[in-house]
Symmetry: C2
Subunit: 167 residues, 2 copies
């Protein structure tokens, strides 16, 4: 089922203070740390909520849908930095799980408007609580000032990348 709670065979508790390997100069780069942090954060969030279906993985998408009901798939794909073609299977799954529904737009019949179901709204609310808990773990030991500037920096990095892409 690929959703097993059994972890893979992995480092048995021993080997307690084995230093991590570093990448030297290559490591002192935003992109490198960004990637490492994101992989670990995403994995931890999903593992913690492995019993909640696929909603945790797509919480960002679901939150956008809640904030902007009825948007076409292509704009949602842009918003979460996925391709249109990738979104199809995702929306199929979320539809099967009863969290969203597609409604044909009357104004433009090429478009499927995407909407949350009642169940979808309930689950999104639940998961948003969990995500705040998760973020508290991520930023443990940081001052609120540091967290704030980190959020600001990430915003501007994203903006740089978006304009780069559009150019």
């Amino acid at each position: 089922m690929a959703r097993g709670n059994d972890r893979e065979d992995r480092q048995t508790g021993g080997n307690p203070a084995r230093a991590q390997l570093d990448a030297g100069e290559a490591e002192r780069t935003v992109a490198y740390k960004l990637r490492l942090a994101q992989i670990l954060a995403f994995r931890a969030f999903e593992e913690k909520l492995a019993d909640r279906g696929r909603a945790p993985r797509y919480l960002g998408l679901l939150a956008i849908i809640r904030n902007h009901p009825g948007e076409p798939q292509s704009r949602l794909a842009d918003a979460v930095a996925l391709r249109r073609s990738s979104l199809v299977a995702i929306l199929d799954t979320l539809t099967d799980e009863g969290l969203i529904e597609r409604r044909l737009s009357a104004a433009d019949r090429r478009i499927n408007g995407i909407w949350l179901t009642k169940k979808g709204e309930r689950i999104v609310d639940e998961l948003l609580l969990e995500s705040r808990r998760h973020d508290a773990m991520l930023t443990a030991g940081l001052t609120s000032k540091e967290t704030a500037t980190a959020l600001d920096v990430l915003d501007r990095v994203i903006a740089n990348l978006r304009t780069e892409d559009a150019g």
Copy 2:
């Protein structure tokens, strides 16, 4: 070939000032922005260097190998936050491209020590230059102080996630 230079049909320049969809409160979280920024940054880096084989994708790994020659695969997997099983195919590819080689350890014959070839070292040096250029694009418009605290914050986020995982 899946490496085509033809971009997918995508936003034609028009539609200039269409606001991005936001995720509301869900968006004010480190994990969310982390994911978005990483996806965009990784994609941009790979697209810019699409003609260099698979080395750009695995530059982080290659840099670690350069800094720590002869390490076993399992420790490399930990360092780049991938599973041991995932690393096998990656190292196969990098071996095929002549960038690394596996050498059986004499002391412990379970272990493959991983080493860069001459060609590998040359290419890593090239790509490290590119990665600095890339990072400059990411952090355009940021003060060096802001960048520094962002790097520091990411380090601590990674540390939080690593200890969480080890526990």
